[in-house]
Structures are given as C-alpha cells and as structure tokens.
C-alpha cells in the first residue's frame, strides 16, 4: 500500500484523530492527535506494514504552545514496497510522550536521545538513562533556550564543562545570491 493510500486508510479508521495531512515532493506526513498517536502507530506497524522505524526525533518550537513536536519516520521493508510515511504530533511541556519501544525496540535509543537532548520523557520507556551526554549532566543541550557555548557544570571524576569561547560568534551564513564574500560565515546580529 502506498503512503498516500496509508494516509487515506488512517483517515478512514481514525477519523478526526488525523488532524492534518501534508504532501511534499512525494513525502507524506500525517499530523495526528496526541492521545491516539500510539494506537495509530501500532496500526501503521501491524496493518499497514510499516515494520521499520527509521527515526524518531523531537522538535523544539520554543515560544509556541505546545512546545514539542514528535516526529516518527516509518518505512516498509518486509513487503518490499519501500514506502515512507511520517507521523507527527505535538506535545506540551511537562507532559510525557507515549513510548513506542513496545512496537519497535529500536525506539529505545531514539527515545533516550530525545530525552537526553531535550528532556522529553516517555511513558512506558523503562530506561531513562542519558545516551550522548553523561549521567549527571544537568542540562538538555538541544533546547532552544540552551546557549550554543554551553554552561559550566561539574561532575567530579566523570566530566566537567565550561563555556566555549565564541570569540564574537556564532558565525553564520545568510541565504543570499550575493558573492561568496557576502555569503561567508560572519558574526551577525541574531534578532
């Protein structure tokens, strides 16, 4: 079943729980209701054949409510159709996401990463250890309100951090059709 037909099937089965669908250059996305997300993802796996979770990630839309957005990239491997479907839902701060590690065991590491980098916790994930940073690091560094240079921290005999010297940075490029002289990374005011 193609990704387009999968979305139609989801809409037929779950009705209003599929809030919005998008198509961009052959990529199909369904934005779904948070409460029904786990059920919909289970349906994708068991009925529609999306047996492979490529990736699970989170987006920090700081300043808007709800703040978090969860993204699930699904793929059909076993039936040979190679269809790619994306499921998204939003999540307010302070609420836990539903773990999908019962559906795809690979989700454990992805969810640990989402927890490590953004501090999103998962209902049903047995193992909330850090995966990239070390146990005891006090911050969630991929949040938008965390400075690029980092914050000082100290874990005796494990690790420490200091603020990195940005030396006038961050140095960023801006999209422009001007010459490379204008395009090259510079320190710019971030408004």
């Amino acid at each position: 079943m193609s990704a387009e037909a999968s979305i139609t099937s989801l809409q037929a089965k779950f009705g209003d729980a599929v809030l919005e669908t998008r198509e961009f250059r052959g990529e199909h996305t369904a934005i779904v209701d948070r409460e029904k997300a786990h059920e919909i993802l289970a349906h994708c796996r068991d009925t529609l054949g999306y047996d492979y979770l490529i990736d699970l990630c989170s987006i920090d839309n700081m300043g808007s409510d709800p703040r978090w957005e969860m993204v699930y990239e699904l793929y059909t491997l076993a039936n040979g159709e190679n269809e790619h479907l994306r499921i998204k839902y939003t999540l307010p701060e302070g609420e836990k996401a539903q773990s999908v590690s019962d559906l795809w065991p690979t989700a454990k590491w992805h969810e640990r990463e989402a927890y490590d980098m953004m501090g999103i916790e998962f209902e049903g994930l047995a193992d909330h250890r850090r995966i990239l940073m070390w146990e005891g690091y006090p911050y969630f560094p991929l949040r938008k309100d965390f400075p690029l240079a980092g914050r000082p921290s100290e874990m005796p005999d494990v690790a420490f951090t200091e603020r990195a010297s940005l030396a006038g940075g961050p140095f960023v490029t801006s999209p422009t059709s001007a010459s490379t002289v204008h395009r090259e990374p510079r320190s710019r005011d971030m408004e």
């Binding site: 980092g150 914050r151 940075g169």
Partner: protein, 178 residues
C-alpha cells in the same frame, strides 16, 4: 711508523677510530636526549578525522619510522608521546586524561590539529576547548586536519625540544643537598 696520513682522513681528525677505538666523548644529557628523541613511542589518541592522517603518517608513504616513532603503543605504560589527534569531547576528555596519567615520565604531548589545540570549529557545549586545558602540550600542529608532513614537522620540533632538555643535569641538581 704508519705511513703519512692521506688528505681525506685528515678531515675526520675529531674522531680517529684507530687511535680511540669504540670510545666517543659526549655529555650525559646529549647522549640521553639523543636516545630519547630517536625512539619516541607514540600513544595514538585518535579521536576524529586527524586519526586518519595519523595513520597515513604511520604508513609507508610518509613513514614515521624514519624518525624512530613508528612503534604505536596502544598501552600508555609503554608510550612516550601522546598524539592527541582529533576533537576532544568533554565525555572523552577524562578518558584522555586517565590514559595520560598512566604514561610514565618522561612524557610529551602533541596536540594534532585545530580541535585538539583549541576546540577548532566546535565552539560548542560538548567539546573541550583545547586539550591543554587538561594536560600540558609540547607541540601544537595546525591544520584541519594537518597533512602528514605537518605532523612529521611537529615531531621534529618535539625532537629538537627533547634534545634541548636537561635530562641528567636536572636530575643531579635535584640530588644535591641544599
């Protein structure tokens, strides 16, 4: 009576093996440093792409064994010089320090490449801004990553530095009662 010395032998008048046999005169410092600098065994601390250049330096085209440093020891207890090749993250930093602490004296450190020297382009929360925040560095090699020639020049600079050390003199100074 030996025959008159041929002109080409007179050039080597400073050391005449016929007269002096297997004896040379030197200073203890010079001899020790000469031995040390020509058998610097590296501890390869390959952490990123610099490690690929480090491997190239060890391979036949650049051949680090020309400088007596081909014996890559993966045990810190047998190493003389730690070549920190790559980005040192905070998570890795204490492991680097621990390996460094296990190396016996005398020991030296080469910070290879921009990341090991200063954090390089990684001005970020996760990266130690230069390995010299943790361990003393003798030679910094610039480049991102440095070419093998650059690392070899760094090694030669380190050899010059080792040759200039007061290895024995400092030892005897310490022994002398004050």
């Amino acid at each position: 009576m030996p025959p008159a010395t041929a002109p080409e032998e007179q050039i080597h008048a400073a050391y005449d093996s016929k007269v002096e046999g297997n004896i040379i005169f030197t200073q203890v410092d010079t001899a020790i440093n000469w031995m040390r600098k020509n058998s610097l065994w590296p501890m390869p601390m390959g952490l990123a792409c610099c490690a690929i250049e480090l491997m190239a330096t060890g391979a036949s085209r650049f051949d680090i064994s020309r400088f007596g440093a081909e014996v890559m020891r993966f045990s810190p207890r047998q190493s003389d010089v730690m070549i920190v090749a790559g980005t040192v993250t905070y998570k890795m930093a204490l492991a680097v320090k621990r390996v460094w602490d296990q190396m016996p004296e005398p020991k030296w450190c080469i910070a290879m490449g921009a990341c090991a020297s200063s954090g390089g382009m990684y001005r970020s929360y996760a990266v130690l801004q230069g390995i010299d925040n943790l361990i003393p560095v003798d030679v910094y090699v610039s480049g991102c990553p440095p070419r093998p020639e650059a690392l070899l020049e760094g090694l030669m600079k380190l050899q010059d530095k080792v040759q200039a050390e007061e290895s024995a003199k400092a030892h005897f100074k310490a022994e002398k009662p004050s």
